[in-house]
Amino acid sequence: MKWHILHPLWVGLGVVGLIILAGRFLVPDDFGVHGRNFTYGYHRLSSLQDWKDFPVKYQGRDSCIECHEENVRLNSASPHAAIQCENCHGPAVNHADSVQSPSVGIQSPSVGNQSSSVGIQPLSVDTSRELCLRCHAYLGYPNSNRGAMPSIVDRTHRRRRECSNCHNPHDPGEESE
């Protein structure tokens, strides 16, 4: 065949060859089919470990009870029992880590406004009226669970005052101390 017909073919093949060669060097070794099938499972295996190593922020009530037993017990017997402590108190992150090793400074991820220091990192509790209104503002939705919530009309109920002035958030049946 004529050279001018074959020439683009060789150039094309050369480019394909270069791409494959570059891929051999640039693609990580653990790239492959690791998932449940070939269509969706092709990925870099160490990416799984990257996600497993992501730091946990919300530790959960079981972690709070280790030190704050009294508050957790009071709260667990109240209508607010289903609410996690950290919903109002903020994510604990490594709030309690320094109990065991007080010399370790807190290296907090970008959560809240926790500056690094030694010792127990105080959590900033959210006592705002807006937090309570998330559930307890009257909207009038008769066939939704929201309609079953004990609720107030924001405009008429003790305007602009914090709920915790009168109500105890740990045990809303009781008045605030």
Binding site: H34, Y40, C135, Y141, N145
Partner: protein
């Protein structure tokens, strides 16, 4: 047609090279390797969302943003809560201000104040990634940066994603977004880091009403799996054929 020995050899070598070169791009697996690659996992995670229970407090959105370091004030979120209000004049009002991050504390929708007496029905629908069995977002990724794990969780490899945003376009649920800090596609990870430490996903843990729950569908004794397998559940956008694995109780047909 005549053909010299020299031409014959040239073309033979060229043709062989052309045939062999592309095959270098493929990886050959042994039978055992291939079987292991598609082996059924003992775990398949799924969400169960009860729209009857949701009160629209938005704590799931806030917890997700804090837990997963999603920029708090940027207009992006991995999960969200939608509000549907059907007024007696037949109109449907739908909103989700800031993804419901700050809850729903009044009936002001896009500047229009809705009188509670005009409401025929109203409810909240928590949404997020459905961790589909046939995830279209994974199909379209040109570089293999997003994938499905053995547990059915769809993840993004932040080191490998180049930010082309095909997957964001491909997701029919709008569950993906472009991460403004990492400059990659981002989505719900089912709190993969928490699951692996035996913790519930942040949205599930923070929900005080049990509206968001999760299940291992391969475990027949899982109480949430029992609900999914024995009660009437629905999924969003069934007709897309993506086989979503976020199951809904009490889903209205007007919810899209």
């Amino acid at each position: 047609m005549t053909c010299s020995r020299r031409d014959f050899l040239k073309e033979a070598v060229g043709t062989t090279a052309a045939a062999v070169l592309p095959s270098a791009a493929f990886v050959l697996l042994s039978t055992d390797e291939a079987r292991a690659a598609v082996a059924n996992s003992k775990v398949r995670y799924a969400f169960l969302i009860d729209t009857n229970k949701c009160v629209g407090c938005g704590m799931c959105v806030r917890a997700c943003k804090n837990e997963n370091e999603v920029p708090y004030d940027a207009p992006v979120t991995r999960n969200w809560v939608e509000r549907y209000i059907f007024t007696k004049d037949g109109k449907i009002h739908i909103d989700s201000p800031k993804g419901g991050r700050d809850g729903f504390t009044d009936n002001n929708m896009y500047g229009e104040e809705i009188d509670p007496d005009d409401i025929a029905k109203a409810f909240f629908v928590p949404k997020g990634c459905n961790h589909c069995d046939n995830p279209p977002c994974v199909q379209v990724c040109p570089v293999g940066a997003t994938y499905q794990t053995n547990e059915g969780v769809v993840l993004v490899d932040r080191d490998w994603c180049m930010g082309c945003a095909y997957c964001i376009m491909a997701c029919p649920f709008g569950a993906r977004y472009f991460h403004p800090v990492h400059k990659v596609a981002d989505k719900c990870t089912f709190c993969y880091h928490r699951l692996n430490k035996g913790l519930a996903p942040a949205c599930v843990q923070s929900c005080a009403f049990g509206a968001r729950r999760f299940a291992n569908l391969r475990d027949p004794d899982d109480p949430v799996t029992k609900i999914i397998t024995t009660q009437r559940v629905a999924v969003l956008k069934d007709l897309y054929g993506t086989k979503p694995h976020a199951f809904y109780l009490g889903l209205d047909h007007d919810v899209r």
